[in-house]
């Protein structure tokens, strides 16, 4: 275990310090390569490596120049986890004499290994010759013949180019006086070009027509998008410079003006430039060519070459070179009979080394073998037009031989997990988990219960129950608190009870008691309905109430006869026949039914 930890520690240290990536390169550039004796040139030494904190390069002999360091610039890029660092050491060279000077290679020593740059040559002509004619003309006022204080110059490095070939536009701002503001720069119109700014801007001095100018240089890579005579518009810059018109004043306080001088605004423009853009030749154009221009290389690497069926192989395709890398078409990779193919990731890095746009595109494809055997991942082709050679080239990666073995049981594919921004991936997730052997509750799809009659009924019943309970509760409360209501509700029941009692008595031949119950049933019913006392109520009052309630004439007549018969039976000794009793009971019940159908009201 401890050995493993030591190994991991050493490996991590070695990796982090870059020992595993020793691809160190050192290159030297000079710009321009021809200057006048009063001019200057920029010498750059660029060290590129997969590691950081490299030692500074050993400079060649520069005794034939006055060399001044203009600083270093560092560029670190991370492509698919691989770190690439490039550090540029810049020197301004002022020539001491005319001639052609060969500058020997710069070098660094790393891990006892010497890395050398290329040689460069600088030609120094006589004074003033190094400055382009256009710049000299721009520096001189054609009307007065005097040199200008500020001016702007635009130059192209080529007069003729192919479509999508890089052309470098250089804009130089010259000033020989103190500037009172930062130049307000407006770039030229480049609507027919795809442009890429090349940074950083450079600052140096240049002597033109015997006058020393400070120069700010901006470079832009332009890629023409169509053939024809294309125009690059005027660039413009505005800047505040001291007002020299009052410079001849004899005012003794003139010396203090510089503190408060707001100066005058000078606006300078470049002349429009034209570029002759040639179409790409039709001759030799490969089939499937998609417009890539530049000089590129393609390579492919596989993370393993022996796998089981259904296990993935990650193949990394790397396209790098110079040219408009963003327009490089991605390689056509199609599924084969032997592999399933998935795009795992892609990355792009644009480089602008010494003003040349290029870069790297990386595509990671996942190949999953479908069958066992010796399989081949086919080569991938890339076609481009090389503007230097003026011809089309088709390059291809090398085919990769894969040995796919039969998969063993219970062995799952270990698929790669690409990094996706914003997504947190469980680092333990290496494959899909195994199937479930238990089918769970394997049932037919259930309908939505919400809309079924059962659900609606089930929820409706408690509502009905609540309504019933509420009504019953209210009735019970009223019965308890309202005696009249309680008597009225109980009237029918009480009357029926008395009629039942009368029916029982009917067979006992006690007519007086029978009719007393009949009479009491009728009087009590009406009295309960009206919440009055039945005692003291006369037959006439009863008849008046019934008549007032809207009873029909037959009912009133039957009631009258029944009351008379009851009085007769109670207060006379005459015998009442059984038929009379039965008839009276029927009539009493009939009258009761009729009375239930009318609304009784107390007579006035």
């Amino acid at each position: 275990m401890i050995r493993k930890l030591i190994f991991i520690f050493i490996f991590s240290f070695v990796w982090s310090s870059g020992w595993c990536q020793d691809n160190v390169t050192i290159e030297m550039y000079i710009s321009p390569d021809t200057i006048g004796l009063d001019g200057q040139a920029m010498l750059s030494i660029v060290v590129k490596s997969g590691r950081q904190n490299l030692p500074a390069p050993q400079m060649p002999n520069l005794s034939m120049f006055d060399a001044v360091s203009s600083g270093t610039s560092t560029n670190i890029s991370i492509v698919n986890g691989a770190v690439e660092s490039s550090q540029a050491y810049n020197y301004i060279l002022y020539p001491k004499q005319q001639g052609t000077f060969n500058i020997k290679p710069a070098f660094i020593v790393l891990d006892r290994k010497r890395y050398e740059s290329n040689e460069v040559t600088l030609t120094v002509l006589k004074q003033g010759v190094g400055t382009p004619k256009g710049t000299q003309e721009a520096a001189q006022d054609s009307q007065t013949g005097e040199t200008r204080d500020v001016f702007l110059v635009a130059q192209l490095d080529k007069k003729r180019a192919f479509v999508n070939q890089q052309v470098t536009l250089t804009i130089k701002f010259y000033n020989a006086v103190r500037l009172l503001s930062q130049p307000d720069y407006t770039p030229p119109q480049t609507s027919d070009f795809w442009s890429e700014s090349i940074e950083p801007q450079r600052s140096y001095t240049e002597t033109i027509n015997g006058r020393r100018y400070n120069v700010i240089e901006l470079n832009t890579a332009l890629f023409p998008t169509r053939p024809g005579e294309l125009t690059i518009g005027s660039a413009m810059a505005s800047v505040q410079v001291p007002d020299n018109s009052a410079g001849r004043s004899r005012d003794p306080f003139r010396m203090f003006d510089s503190f408060f001088d707001r100066g005058v605004t000078r606006t300078v423009r470049t002349r429009p430039l034209t570029l002759d853009v040639q179409p790409l030749p039709a001759e030799g154009k490969p089939s499937g060519y998609s417009g890539t221009v530049g000089d590129f290389a393609i390579s492919s690497t596989a993370d393993k070459t022996t796998v089981e069926v259904n296990q993935p192989i990650t193949v990394t395709y790397k396209i790098n070179g110079t040219g408009n890398i963003k327009t490089v078409a991605e390689p056509k990779i199609e599924e084969t009979n032997d592999f399933r193919v998935y795009r795992a990731s892609s990355d792009e890095k644009v480089s602008k080394l010494q003003g040349i746009v290029g870069g790297t595109k990386i595509y990671e494809e996942t190949y999953i073998p479908k069958r066992a055997g010796n399989l081949v991942i086919p080569a991938v082709e890339l076609s481009f037009f090389d503007p230097r050679a003026k011809k089309y080239k088709t390059i291809s990666s090398k085919p990769i031989n894969i040995t796919a073995t039969a998969a063993s049981l219970n062995q799952y594919a270990e698929l790669p997990i690409p990094n996706v921004a914003g997504r947190v991936i469980d680092p333990n997730a290496k494959d899909i988990r195994y199937i479930k052997t238990d089918s769970g509750r394997l049932e037919k799809e259930k309908p939505l219960i919400l809309l079924t009659p059962l659900y609606l009924t089930l929820n409706g019943l408690p509502v009905l129950l609540l309504a019933f309970v509420w009504v019953a509760s209210r009735r019970r409360e009223r019965l308890a608190s309202d005696i009249g209501y309680a008597r009225s509700r109980a009237a029918k029941r009480m009357a029926r009870k008395r009629l039942g009692k009368a029916r029982k008595i009917a067979g006992s031949a006690n007519a007086a008691e029978f009719f007393a119950e009949i009479r009491m049933a009728l009087f009590s019913y009406v009295a309960d309905k009206l919440n009055i006392s039945p005692h003291g109520m006369t037959g006439d009052q009863l008849l008046a109430i019934v008549t007032g309630g809207g009873a029909d004439e037959d009912t009133v007549k039957d009631l009258k006869n029944l009351l008379r018969k009851a009085d007769f039976a109670q207060y006379s000794s005459a015998k009442v026949s059984a038929e009379d009793i039965k008839d009276s009971l029927d009539k009493a019940e009939n009258i009761m039914v009729k009375l239930e159908g009318i609304r009784l009201e107390q007579a006035a």
Binding site: I425, G440, L442, K446, N459, P462, L466, S473
Partner: protein
């Protein structure tokens, strides 16, 4: 007559053999599919699982296993579709969540500008553990219990603090559960959701190939269906981009 009888018998047997899977044999089909998967015959396993699915049977393990088969046979779009179906039935299953996450890693396109609605996220967290039917039963049960308690309180004519606390608690639970049920109904039932299953498909500005291509989407992208024509769905993606998509390139969850 006897010939006609024979034809009827044969027809009955054929219908029984090819017709809907009976409840008795569903488990044996599932087990046979599992065996095929175990033997890495994913196509045969998928065929058996599909037979159950096509006969209307569903369960989280069935859809999960179908997702695995689709993944193993190189159809990750369908795998994501069936993992999502399984997750609808069993939102808490870790295996489903794991495999869904894993399959999504192979999605060729990602949506940019997806904004998370905190209210929807919160409601989704609350409703996630329950299916719509479960929520409906829960809210119904609470509603019935609440009404019975209220009826009892009214009938008994009073009730102390305890019955009031119970009633108010039940009322709050009824409101919450009904709200969640309504939310689930509106978001998961009324709204049709789908996923792209084709490796790559175009999303048009109108229902037809003669319209502008808004963008190109890859398998695994989920969407909501807003309307449809015979051949196209008008869909809304998570980043609120809309477009018309060919029906044959997608499946509804």
């Amino acid at each position: 007559m006897s010939k006609l009888l024979k034809i009827l018998v044969v027809l009955t047997i054929v219908t029984a053999a090819c017709g809907p899977v009976s409840a008795a044999v569903k488990d044996s089909i599932f087990a046979a599919a599992n065996d095929s998967y175990q033997n890495k015959d994913y196509e045969a396993a998928l065929e058996s699982y599909l037979k159950l699915s096509e006969n209307g049977y569903e369960s989280a393990p069935l859809f999960y296993n179908m997702g695995n088969c689709f993944f193993k046979t190189g159809r990750p779009g369908y795998a994501i579709l069936y993992y999502l179906k399984a997750q609808t039935l069993d939102p808490f299953d870790e295996d489903i969540a794991n495999n869904l996450t894993f399959a999504r890693q192979f999605m060729p396109t990602r949506l940019e500008g997806v904004q998370i609605n905190p209210v929807s996220t919160f409601m989704g967290t609350l409703t996630e553990p329950f299916s719509l039917n479960n929520l409906a039963w829960i809210s119904s049960g609470l509603f019935i219990l609440f009404l019975i308690c209220l009826s009892w309180k009214i009938y008994s004519g009073g009730g102390g603090l305890a019955i009031k606390v119970i009633l108010y608690s039940l009322l709050v639970l009824v409101i919450i559960s009904s709200g969640l049920t309504t939310y689930e109904y509106r978001t998961d039932y009324k709204v049709k959701k789908g996923v792209i299953v084709a490796d790559e498909t175009r999303i048009y500005s109108g229902p037809g190939e003669d319209n502008d291509v808004e963008f190109v989407g890859g398998f695994g992208l989920e969407f909501e269906v807003e309307s449809e024509t015979p051949d196209y769905y008008l869909v809304l993606f998570e980043n609120k981009r809309k477009g018309w998509i060919l029906k044959s390139d997608v499946e509804l969850i």
